[in-house]
Homo-oligomer: 97 residues x 2
């Protein structure tokens, strides 16, 4: 962004960045779900328990710390992880059915 | 991962990848919110309309396409964007109050 840009030009430049971040988020989420699918298969194959509350608490605590350091609301980080984990559980259920 | 790993070792390796992806997601989300905060200030400063339904529909359509290409459920991509936008609107409201 430069000082001689109109507000509309500045807005377009900001939106271009947001679109790039969203594309990055989608691709990382896609890769994360590939990995949780592997975890689901491994757990089913070796009769490991499907959920692990201790692991989940550690994930929440870690993401809250990372969020604080990067000036993101830690409550949002926790809600975000819960949102993603809900989807993973949904995938595991669909895979079993 | 190698063939001679125990299931538990394989699980730990998969979880290490998931933790790396989560850290990446948190940092990109933090940066995305920095940008939407700038958008909020710019819109307030220049009396631009706070929401833009056409832009939002374009974002949804684009993310659904990106999700399909990367083998991610497009419905999840749409839900994810809605989840993030809800948070942005919440930020904008708090900023105005």
């Amino acid at each position: 962004m430069t000082a001689d840009q109109t507000p509309q030009e500045k807005l377009l430049a900001m939106r271009a960045s947001i679109d790039n971040f969203d594309a990055a988020l989608i691709h990382i989420l896609a890769e994360r779900f590939r990995r949780t699918k592997e975890v689901g298969s491994l757990k089913a194959e070796h009769d490991l328990p499907p959920s692990d509350p201790v692991r989940e608490q550690e994930q929440i605590a870690r993401l809250r710390r990372l969020a604080e350091k990067s000036d993101l609301d830690p409550d949002f980080a926790e809600k975000f992880l819960e949102f993603v984990i809900r989807e993973v559980i949904q995938h595991h259920k669909q895979a079993r059915e």
